[in-house]
Structure formats: C-alpha cells, structure tokens
Amino acid sequence: MSFANLSGLGVALGVAGLAAGLFLLQRLRVRYQPKRVITTLFWKEALEEARARVLVRRFRHLLAYLFVLLIASLLWLGFADPQWGESEDADYVILVDGSAGMAYGDRFEEAIEAARAHAAALPRDRRAVLLCGSRIRTLLLPGEHERVLDRRVDGITPDACPATVETALRAISHAKDTGRTLNVVVAGDAPVRDETDALLPSDVTVSRLTTTSARDGNRGITALGVVPASSGAWDRVDVLAELHGETAGLAISVGGAPLAANAARVTTHGQRRQVSIRDLPARGSLLEITLPGGDPLSLDDVARIRLPKRPRLKVALSPSLSDVLEPVLAADPGIAIVASGADVAVRRGGESTGGEIPALEWTRPDSQVEAILLHHERGLQSERVLVESFDRLGLEDVDTSDLAARTGRVISLGAAPADRRGVGVWDTLLGAQYNFVHSRSFPLFVAASLRWLAGTTDFAAFVAAGEPIRGDATPRRDAAGRTLDPVGAAFVPPVAGAYASDADELVASLLSPETTTGSAIAASDASASVASSGGADALTIIALVALGLLLMEWFLYRTGRMP
C-alpha cells in the first residue's frame, strides 16, 4: 500500500500525532454544561473527596478515546489517499489513443473514461495521462486530481492521423527516470507491436486498458497519389487512389468541379478498390475524393491532394551549342527551346544568349578551377549547396574517374555565391574524346541542371498524415498558423490538412490502411490487458467507514452510552 498525498512515514506520524492530541484533549479540563439541581450539597462533598489536585484530569473513557482515535485515524488515512497494491518505485503513464481510429463509434469517450477510472486508482503523484493524437499532449500531470481530466478533454476529438502511441512510448521510455519502473497503460486501439516492445528498456512494461474492437463495416480511402502521366504529357499527371470497401457514391472533384463518372477507372482486388484517373492537368488544383458518410469512421471518408504545377521549362540555347545539346533538350518533354522569354539559358562562357538569367555555361578550363562550378544565391553556404545538389543534379551518375583519366586533370566540383544561379562546366568535356556527351549521365545532368537553375522542385506524389515527404524539408505553416520546421529532416504533416510554405501548399490526408481496416488492431500486440479499476477506491471505502463510525458515535451519544 502506498499513499498519494503523504509518505508512509507521514501517515504514521500523523496517526501518532492524532493519538497524542486526542489523549491531551481527554486529559484537559472540559467545558461544563450548566444544569440546575435542587442541591449541590452532596456533589460538593463528593468532589472534595474525589477531586485530584493535579493540572490535568485523570485519563478516562478509554473506549471512547479509542473510538474517536479510530475515526480520526480514518480521516487522516483518507487525507493520505492510500493506494492499494502499488509500488512506490514505479511510475505510471496512461497513453490515451487520440488517433483517427478512435473516432470509430464511441471508442474515444470509452478510452477517456477508462483512463480516468484507472488514474484514480494509481498514486496521484506518480501517474500522468498523455493524449497521443497528431502530437502528444499532457492531459494530467503527476499530482493533479483525475477530475481535471473532464475539463482537459472537453472539446477534444481524435485527430485525423495514424496512431502515435508507439512514438509516445519510445519518447517517454527514453525520458523516464533511471532506477524506477515505468508502467505504461494504453487506453485505446493503437497497436503496440512486438518489435516496438522489444526496443523498450526492460523496466518499462506496457499493458492495455481497454479492449480493442474490429472496424467492421467501415470503408475509407487508404491511399491517394500523383504520378507523371503515363501518356508522357509533361503537364499532366495520373492520380491513383485506393479504397477499402465499396465505391458506391464515390465522388471526385478537381478544383471544386466534379469529375465525370467515366473519368475514373476502378479495379477490384478483394476488399480493395483501386481508382485511377489519367491525364489530369498539372496546374496545382486541389483534387478531392469523397465517400458518402454513414459508416462508423468518417475521418477516412475524404482525401485530398494538391496536383502539381508542371509547366514546360523554356530554354534559350546558344547556336554554338545546338549541334551537341539540341538533341538532348528536344528529347526532354518538359523543356521547350525558345528564342525569347526563356527561363534559363544554355550557352558558352562569355555569350549573352537569353540575357541575365540563370544559365548552364560551358566555359574554358582555364577560367575556373573546378570542372563543375555551381553558382548559388548569396547567403547560402556553398558546402551545403554542394551536398544538396549532388544527387539532385545527377552528378553521382557521372563517371568522374573516367573523365579524370581521359582529361588528365582532376575533376572537381565547387560552389560559389553569385548574383543568380548558374552552372559552369568545362567546355572541353563536350569533346567526343571524353565520352561525356555520349554517356547516359549527360542528358540527366543537363536536364537536372536546367531544372535546378529554374528552381523547379519535385512534386510530392503522396502526402499522408504522419508520413515524411521525401526531399521536402521546407518549414510550413499549418491551418492554425503554427510553423512546423522539420529542421533539415523530411517534413511530416502531423494531421490531415493544408500546410503552406512561401512557395507552395501541401494538402495531407489520413490515408492510413491500418486505421481504416483496423488490421493493426488484430495484429500481434505486445501489450497485455489490464483490468479496469472497478469498484470503490480506498478513499471511498475509508469515507464510508468513517461515516458509519460517526453515525455510531452519534447513536451512542444520544442513547447515553458514550460520554
């Protein structure tokens, strides 16, 4: 047994103090109640005969003293808030699953209620309740009364995001106090896989408070992605969606305009339905797929994605290079060779083709030390530009060893700040003897360099809540205006919704097959179930016993059996 409000020593000292205090009260003189009698003659004589000449009274009413001491001790114990069967060396964390799956029926409300009941049975100063939604929020700090939960969860609903309990589990496991056992209790359907459990420290135990339930009768959108059009049209994209359950009532719109029913092609694979839409204009419109409601989980009945903007890149080509580079540029469907109004230029060093625009310049080897020199905007670190651009420009595919052997010179890569972007390459590498222009890496290098010069970015093909967006480390603002900075890592939209940056906007959807189908619930779960704390807690029992004793005291006093 432990105590929520006091230590065991504190409880013992309190009881001892009560015993001493009540003992002194018994010994002190009392306030007498006036009573009129016909004579005090005999009382006077009796008192003179029996009265002790001491400061305090003789101790009396032992049974009454013990009775009152029992009541006072119970009240003291009630204040101490005893907790039965809990170790003092353990901490307790209740993780309430606040992911999209908990919006299934009344699962979230059930989990909150179970968490509150269980928290009431745990030592108050050593238990906390966390909500695992799109982010981890503290619902109940150690020391707070469980009734605070009611106010804290008021208005909170599950987030349109996949389960994050495992993430929270790893985080609190790392942050826990050493030398103390951490008992984690999951309230909700979020799975805790064996592999996750295996990574936890040995003194962390995971159990489940509520029983999970299958997602029978639910249908939802489990995937939505964009790919370049299979037709080869640069400015068009294909959209592929996957649904769980029937597609009846499926509605698709682009930029708010409904799509014709025959625009989508549906194929069936068991419970899965694949919906493909081809050659949609890549103009940055918002595509939305909606399933009619009526099933227990509504968060997966809608999915949105922002289609990319894919205009063709306009390139000004120097006539001096047309024999070598025009075939390469013409083979790229995303590039159009123009005479004016170009986005980027391809020219030799010193030429003015295209004017003052970013340019891929073929320069004489004596004008720059590096074989390839990147000019980047001022304010950026050249080393970082080099690292980020290495893959993006396709340089890893360039056989620099062969080039070095053939040219007899060191093939190096450099970066330097400039007024505008630019790529300088030794023009000698255009020579056929170096085998560069005939290599498979040459068209890729040219295409990638021109797109880097134009600032073109890859579009996000799949934007799901909780899933990192590869190659996108841009800080973005969510719908509430909060800035989410991935700090160099891939951006992860925490919940379905729009995330804007200065350049573009991402729209994330739930897209969680585990949430829609409940497959993860049925999978192997490392968490053992714990019984919900039912029945009256110790405080209630103590209060009832004390009340009964007080009533008994009143009865004994009224019947004259107790002084």
Partner: protein, 300 residues
C-alpha cells in the same frame, strides 16, 4: 420547572385526593376500639402526658402514638398508651424553600398533600393543628386550632405557599422554639437539604422539646444520580455551582455523602427518639400514608 405557585387549593387537593382522605380517616378511627390514644382528656393542662402501657400496633392506630424506640430495638411497631390524653397539638412545619418547587413534579406537591392529610386526621380527632411554613426562616401561617370545619382553611393556606429562598433549619427551628408553644407533635415536612449540611439540621432539631416526626420528601434519584457527562451543577437555592464530571469515583463519593446524610438523620431519629416517614414524592401520598397507618412499614 413547573409553576406550582399558581396552583389553587382545588387544583392541589382535587376531589379524588379529598375522597382518599376520608378512607384514611376510617383507618385512623379503627384504633379507638383497642384503646384510646388520640382523643385524650387531660387532668391537668400543662402538666404533660402520662404513660400507661404498650400494645402492638394495629391497622388504623394513631401514628402519633407509635413508640419509635421500641420499633428500632425489636423491629416491631408498638403504641404507647396514655392516660388522660387530650388535644395533643400538632405543629406542621412545612418546608417551602426553592428546592421543593424544582423538578417535575415538584416535591412541594407531595409535601402539601401530606400536610393536609395529617391535618385532616388530626382535626377529625379533635386535635389542634398549627401551620408553620419555613425556608430561610419560619413564619406562622395558621395558629394552632381545632375543629373539623377548618380543614378547607388549611387547604387554602397550604395552597397559598410560595417558593422561599434557601433552607435554614437553624434559624427556622430557633424561631419556632422561641414561640414557647405547648408541647405537642412537631411534624417537619421537608427534603432536609439544608446548604449548611445534615449536621446543622440535626443540631436544630435537637433543640425541639416536642415529639418529632420527620417527613422526608425524597426521590429514588436522590441516592443514585447520574448527570451523564460533564456539567456545571447550579444549586437552585444558593446559586452555588459545582463543575462535575460524573466519573465512577465521583458518583461513588456522592453516594457515600448521601448515605452519611441519611445516617445522620436516622441517627437523630433513633436517639431523639423521633419518627421518620420516607415519602416517595413520585408515588401516591395517600396510599403511602395508608400503608403507614396499616403496617407502619414506612416508619423507621
């Protein structure tokens, strides 16, 4: 506390009580068949009472003729038979101190009824009766007089008694003695709770040159009280207070003190000799007196 001061003679001495007094007269008259002991004729007024013989007590005998000394020695009630007894005056000293008017029912009610009963019997036997109420001092309410027709006058006088202050036997008896009344039977109706203690009561009574009958108005709770807790007891007469926690030792000491009080009164009665009638104020007065006249069992 019940307000007995507003009771009239009719309320105090209701028809039922007065009817019961007649039955008491019948009991009292039976004694005349066995020998005169009440309607005495005196050869020489002022020369005293002349003893003739003893005979066993019989129901109906005059309680005034009971020999208390013989009773205590032998455990049997005998009557003294006198020659030429006549007009033995009866002096009723009725305690009207505050303590008699406390409690519910107040002891004064039983005291007044007892006084009237004894008055009724005495008047019916042609004895003279005087009424002397007392508290902190004694006063003359009705001088000794005889005549059966005066009973109602006595009843009204008794009913007119109002609560006095403290009990002061010494002063009251001294006042009575200073009246130099003809020797007779002094009946003291009281609870005998004099703040000066039993010693003062006994000392005062010893000064009486009359035959004495003490009528003690008592209750069962007098001997074994239980205030039940911690009380500041206030004496209704003197206002004296005592803080009392009724622990077992204190209650035991009380009982011992009360026993000493009883013993002192009894010892006085034994030595005087005097009669003592223990009258339970919670019981019917007439029936207790009837028992006295029939068996003498209330006489100590």
């Amino acid at each position: 506390m019940p307000d007995t001061t507003t009771l009239t003679a009719k309320e105090l001495f209701d028809p039922e009580f007065l009817e019961s007094l007649r039955r008491l007269h019948v009991l009292a008259r039976r004694v005349s068949r066995g020998g005169r002991n009440a309607e005495q004729r005196s050869k020489d007024l002022g020369s005293g009472i002349e003893f003739r013989d003893f005979r066993p007590y019989a129901p109906g005998d005059d309680f005034r003729a009971i020999d208390w000394t013989v009773y205590r020695r032998l455990g049997k009630v005998f009557l003294k038979l006198y020659e030429e007894l006549e007009d033995l005056p009866v002096y009723l000293l009725v305690d009207r101190s505050r303590s008699l008017f406390e409690e519910d029912p107040p002891r004064i009610r039983a005291g007044l009824r007892t006084a009237l009963a004894l008055t009724s019997i005495s008047l019916s036997q042609h004895d003279s009766v005087g009424l002397f109420p007392f508290a902190d001092n004694l006063e003359v309410l009705l001088r000794p007089s005889s005549g059966k027709g005066r009973l109602w006058r006595f009843a009204e006088s008794l009913a007119s008694l109002r609560p006095g202050d403290t009990t002061d036997f010494e002063t009251s008896i001294r006042t009575f003695s200073s009246m130099n009344l003809r020797e007779g039977l002094v009946v003291v109706v009281s609870d005998f709770f004099d703040p000066a203690g039993a010693e003062a009561v006994v000392k005062a009574l010893k000064g009486l040159r009359h035959r004495v009958l003490l009528v003690r108005l008592w209750r069962k709770t007098d001997a074994a009280p239980d205030p039940g807790g911690d009380f500041q007891l206030v004496d209704c007469e003197s206002g004296h207070t005592e803080d009392v926690s009724a622990t077992a030792p204190v209650v035991d000491a009380y009982r011992r003190s009360y026993a000493r009080f009883e013993e002192q009164l009894t010892d006085f009665a034994r030595k005087k000799p005097a009669g003592m009638l223990m009258l339970d104020t919670d019981e019917d007065v007439v029936s207790q007196l009837a028992t006295l006249f029939e068996t003498g069992s209330y006489v100590t």
